[in-house]
């Protein structure tokens, strides 16, 4: 089934007796009050959600979707005093993501969309958001174009772009050695990583001794690993996402490379490593969030606790991203006191959240969220099947560092349009 209406699905479990009792209680609750209902009050506010239900990114999308749904559940499924519901559609490929975004707008009349698990999907949804004038939060995509050359007034992006991740991780890699091998996915995210890390190391006196682009969904990396082994680099820079990264790391370990040549990659998901297993997990990474980070603000700790209670497992970074993306949209609808798209966009541009020494929020000139990242390695001995990472640094550490890492308006490739 392609549609998933959260509130409606719950009704299926209510029996006849429960329905009668509920109807009776509802009727009784209305007795003392004057009837002031109208058509608008009865109509739920619909929020669109496009996270993959099929394909290579589905493992991350499960956590993204659960985080997004939790954000609405924490408000008792109400917005502006009205019932609210999420309509969840699939993103099987960029075309499918675009078609489903059009369905959300045309058929379901959603007031905003959260989604875009892969950069190519997010770019497709962003084009619809611009055309249909509907606010869209891209909560997971990292390709630079989204808030760069392809930016628009209705698209907001939570994940820091590849350049920011590179600025944080590349100095650590360069301190290991200056001969890098770059293995990246053959689409926007991977190509950004390839360019970004290649630019960094050549500008810092090093060299790329080999570079391969890998098709998405590659089941066997052994031939690529043999090439890397022959090239003898100091560090391997990865740019492969989700289950592809899981497969690569399993085979990296199987071919005896784990611990021999350091592996580094930006923006990895917790689930990617959970699937690798403690025996094979390896690498140095940037993460957007980690449930064991003691510096997480109280609101995020509460979210993580609510998630763990509901799903009986810790919140992944993707849970936080889905939650944070949806929370920003819902907060902004409340702040705008309206479902009008222009008012929500205005409120999103002003939305922010205090996170330790920095304030996370969307910049008005490119709609990129500014935030800090975690640099993390794999624990030497993993004893908890969920707790794989040692957080080594949280960067940028202050507001001055944020501007340096994310760049200024003058450096931005975004030519923001008007509403």
């Amino acid at each position: 089934m392609n549609d998933h209406s959260i509130n409606r699905s719950k009704f299926g479990t209510i029996g006849r007796r429960g329905l009668l009792l509920g109807a009776g209680a509802l009727a009784a609750s209305r007795l003392p009050m004057p009837y002031i209902g109208n058509a608008a009050a009865a109509e739920p506010i619909k929020i669109g959600m496009i996270w993959a239900k099929t394909g290579s990114i589905v493992d991350q999308a499960e956590y993204l979707a659960q985080g997004s749904m939790l954000a609405l559940e924490q408000r008792n499924n109400t917005l502006l005093g009205r019932p609210a519901e999420i309509v969840w559609l699939d993103e099987p490929n960029p075309q499918g993501a675009q078609q489903n975004a059009e369905r959300l707008v045309g058929e379901h009349k959603v007031v905003g969309i959260v989604g875009g698990a892969l950069s190519s999907f997010a770019l497709a949804i962003s084009a619809v958001a611009k055309k249909a004038k509907v606010p869209f939060i891209a909560a997971n995509a990292a390709a630079g174009a989204l808030t760069g050359s392809s930016c628009n007034k209705y698209t907001f992006r939570l994940q820091p772009p590849v350049d920011v991740h590179t600025n944080v991780l590349a100095p650590y890699c360069a301190s290991i050695g200056k001969k890098w091998y770059v293995l990246t996915a053959a689409y926007a995210f991977g190509q950004d990583i390839k360019k970004s890390f290649t630019d960094y190391i050549t500008a810092n006196g090093g060299q790329v001794v080999g570079a391969d682009e890998v098709p998405v969904g590659t089941p066997d990396y052994s031939s690529f690993i043999l090439k890397i082994r022959a090239a003898k680099p100091d560090v391997v820079i990865g740019g492969i996402a989700a289950s592809d990264l899981t497969t690569f790391l399993k085979q990296w370990n199987e071919l005896g490379m784990r611990g021999k040549i350091p592996f580094a990659e930006i923006a990895v998901g917790n689930t990617d490593l959970w699937g690798v297993g403690p025996e094979a997990a390896d690498g140095l990474f940037t993460l957007t969030w980690y449930y064991q980070n003691p510096n997480n603000p109280p609101e995020e700790k509460a979210m993580a606790a609510a998630y763990a209670k509901k799903y009986n497992r810790p919140a992944a970074d993707k849970t936080w991203m889905g939650w944070m993306g949806m929370k920003a949209l819902l907060d902004s609808i409340e702040a705008a006191k309206s479902t009008d798209a222009a008012a929500i966009v205005g409120a999103l541009e002003k939305w922010n959240m205090k996170r330790g020494a920095i304030t996370a929020g969307y910049r008005d000139f490119d709609h990129q969220m500014t935030n800090s990242l975690l640099v993390a390695g794999i624990k030497p001995k993993i004893t908890d099947k969920w707790d794989y990472f040692d957080v080594r640094a949280e960067l940028p550490a202050d507001e001055a560092g944020i501007e340096k890492a994310f760049g200024s308006k003058a450096n931005s490739a975004c030519k923001m349009d008007s509403l």
Partner: protein
Amino acid sequence: MLDMILSQAVNGLVLGFLYVLIAVGLSIIFGMLGIVNFAHGAFFAIGAYFALVLNREFGWFAALLAPIATGAVGVAVEMLLIRRLYGKEPLLGLILTFALALLFEAILRMMFGGAPVPFTAPKFLAGFVEYGPILITKYRMFVLAVTVLALVAFWAFLAYTPFGRIIRAGSRDAEMVGLLGINLPIVLSGVFGIGCLLAGLAGMLAAPLWTVQPSMAAGAIMPAFVVVTIGGLGSYVGAIIAGLLVGITTAMTIQFYPEWAGAAMYVLMAAILLVRPRGLFGEKWERFE
């Protein structure tokens, strides 16, 4: 450079044998039953998950039962659903097996979640060996040995056992086999079960190498279709030769033109179909004409 070519060729052979194992099941199901089984990748995933659960609960040797369990699921599916389609419009088979593929993926997702589950090779198969420039892991050697053994055993079964002879005869003229008093429905259930068993065996062997998750079928089904098409639909020998060709071509493309790695097997398929539209060993089968 010669060292690298040799090393990649050996590596490609191992990958090719895994593809062969996936494709042979698909090929015999088409050859005997006339069904293009889109759910074959799902049986591959089911084999991996059976291995995962059996390994977790009872250890690695119990995981060896995963292919048999997958074959049993296949027999049940054939008896409940597939057999209703024999002799009917081929499109119905495509639709049913495509729906089954989606259904099995959804069931796996419901039972195990969408996220990958860790699964590594047993400790006694960890490590690798080097012969000059050739590096091969012990686990891949194990995969190679099991695959060759399974293929030889299956060939002997078809060639030398009475059941195998009935299968071969039934694939050519089912009506005549029935008229001779042989219970063909049971034979066909067995064939579908054996095809699924082979897919389950491939899933079990691939689980420590690939990512174990409900959507892992996608990584198996496309190469399997390419291998079967190149080899010729229904041809056992064709599937073996085509699988090895695809494995070696992929490995060599990664070495010399990595950006073409994903497209290499499709280019190979297109080139072979231009010369031989029925595939390398494809024959004219009266019942499918």
